[in-house]
């Protein structure tokens, strides 16, 4: 049993806003849902599967009710952080393969910027009864400090440098200059990154993603429906998901869950990392990209620093064009969850609808991978591989 070829991404929509003080989160969810449904050429009543995550206020009941989806027969509120939409695309394909639904919508939206939430630098308790809180909260682990722990260890173990990490931001900025909606559109240099203020050693301000309002949605449908629509055919051919843990204190912080989800997704798809023409790689921080690129098999473990250097991630320049929308580092990281925008840009690339300056030629095979939670503690991971038919 496989999801290969059982479902297609027929609709994708990224909200143009990056600052939404005038709209509540529920409205943003509704706007992205309708945007993706319209992009597919479908109507709201065609939707019979709804997928939301921890960012949806009130969860499935409130969102289903707000959107008033009257034909729902499959619902899923998987929450493993920002990667959730990526694994939910695979879950939607599973549901479609089993006949549980025909047209599924995955939404993500929120407004941390309007609400002035200092996501990366202030410790947060996600659930007061989570067993790890008493062992971690007093020490002030945050998004920035947690990922910094990984970066520091990676540097110690493999000789990775701040300049190499900076190349990831440089590549993202080269792409973002062409995206009119991107939050940061200025091209930056390696020097700009390493000279930006230190946040949490060794991560500088420009090693960190943006904090934005907005969101996005995708629509997944069964093959017969996809073929009846007027959009290019983007097929899901492989997927992997996991959560990576602290292993009772015996973890290796230089690895991510991608080391498990990548091989599974490639095996199901029947392709190799070297076959991938475009990759959306979760970029909460520069180190996030580096670790995942290694774990997905785009280069040898520990060699990510050399791999990402000298523009190797820049479309039209390097071997692995990544995050051609500008990614979370420059374009958008709506509600501190970068999963949906990773899927959307992969769909744009496969359709040939990316900005001409960053469109990968003959882009027929793409990967989207994400991490949710904290690489420095525990996290969810998800990989999907998409093919243009």
């Amino acid at each position: 049993m496989t999801i290969k070829g059982k479902a297609y991404l027929v609709g994708a929509f990224e909200h143009p806003t990056r600052f939404a003080p005038d709209k509540p989160t529920a409205q943003l969810h509704a706007e992205v849902a309708m945007g993706a449904i319209e992009d597919a050429g479908l109507s709201k009543d065609d939707v019979d599967g709804l997928f939301v995550s921890g960012d949806a206020p009130g969860g499935l009941q409130s969102m289903g009710n707000y959107l008033s989806l009257k034909n729902l027969r499959h619902v899923d509120a998987t929450d493993i952080g920002g990667v959730s939409p990526i694994v939910q695309v695979a879950h939607a394909a599973e549901a479609i393969a089993l006949g549980k639904c025909n047209v599924a919508v995955v939404t993500l939206a929120g407004r941390p910027r309007a609400d002035d939430i200092h996501t990366g630098t202030v410790p947060r308790i996600r659930h007061v009864a989570a067993p790890d809180v008493q062992w971690e909260f007093p020490y002030s682990i945050t998004a920035a400090t947690g990922y910094a722990l990984v970066a520091k260890r990676h540097m110690y173990q493999y000789g990775t440098t701040s300049e190499q990490l900076a190349w990831i931001k440089v590549a993202a900025s080269h792409h973002a200059q062409h995206n009119p909606n991107a939050m940061l559109r200025d091209v930056v240099t390696v020097e700009d990154v390493v000279n930006s203020p230190m946040i949490s050693d060794p991560l500088h301000r420009l090693d960190c993603c943006v904090i934005t309002d907005g969101g996005g949605a995708v629509v997944i449908a069964r093959p017969e429906i996809a073929r009846s629509l007027k959009r290019p055919l983007v097929k899901l051919i492989g997927a992997g998901e996991t959560t990576k843990h602290q292993e009772g204190g015996y973890m290796d912080l230089t690895y991510s869950g991608a080391a498990r989800t990548g091989p599974r997704a490639f095996q199901e798809a029947g392709v190799q990392p070297s076959d991938i023409k475009y990759a959306s790689i979760y970029d909460s921080f520069t180190i996030t990209v580096l670790v995942q690129i290694e774990d997905l098999g785009f280069c040898e473990k520990g060699k990510g620093g050399a791999f990402v250097s000298d523009g190797n991630l820049i479309s039209g320049v390097g071997k692995l064009p990544f995050n051609t929308d500008g990614g979370g580092l420059c374009n958008n990281h709506p509600t501190n969850r970068g999963g949906i925008t990773k899927i959307i840009e992969a769909v744009r690339q496969l359709r040939g609808e990316a900005h001409p300056a960053v469109q990968v030629k003959n882009c027929d095979l793409a990967l989207a991978h994400g991490t949710g939670g904290n690489l420095g503690a525990r996290h969810g991971s998800g990989t999907i591989i998409l093919e243009r038919e």
Partner: protein, 130 residues
């Protein structure tokens, strides 16, 4: 008495109360498993390594080595977040205190020190270079 930054109080639960009671006495407990023989972190009744419930509290050496760290500079009071690899094996999240933050390094030997949190609340185990 060193001048510590303000740290949030831990929230003991029935499973972990003995750890925090011991912390008030300046004792650093660890949880070991009689089935697989391993010490794990953070302490659990059911061993996260092998799944056995044949686990027990033991007094730890309080000695370890810095596995990784970061100096958080964008905070009211900068602090050092770290994973310390205990001599007994597991790696625990903690803060490095009582030192020049610029001289902290991976591989450094450290010793547990209990840092006060809120009045009435137990202190938390941090580490200082030896």
């Amino acid at each position: 008495m060193a001048n510590y930054r303000k740290m949030a109080a831990p929230s003991p639960d029935p499973e972990t109360q003995p750890f925090w009671d011991a912390a008030r006495q300046g004792k650093f407990l660890i949880r070991g498993c009689n089935s697989c023989g391993k010490v794990h972190w953070f302490p659990r009744t059911i061993c996260p390594i092998c799944g056995s419930s044949n686990t027990e509290w033991r007094e730890g050496s309080g000695k370890g080595t810095i596995y990784t760290y970061t100096v958080m500079r964008r905070a009211k009071e900068p602090y050092v977040l770290a994973y310390v690899e205990l001599d007994e094996g597991p790696r625990m999240l903690t803060n490095i205190v009582d030192c020049d933050f610029e001289r902290v390094d991976i591989g450094q030997k450290v010793q547990v020190v209990f840092v006060p949190t809120a009045p009435e609340a137990p202190p938390v185990p941090c580490f200082r270079p030896v």
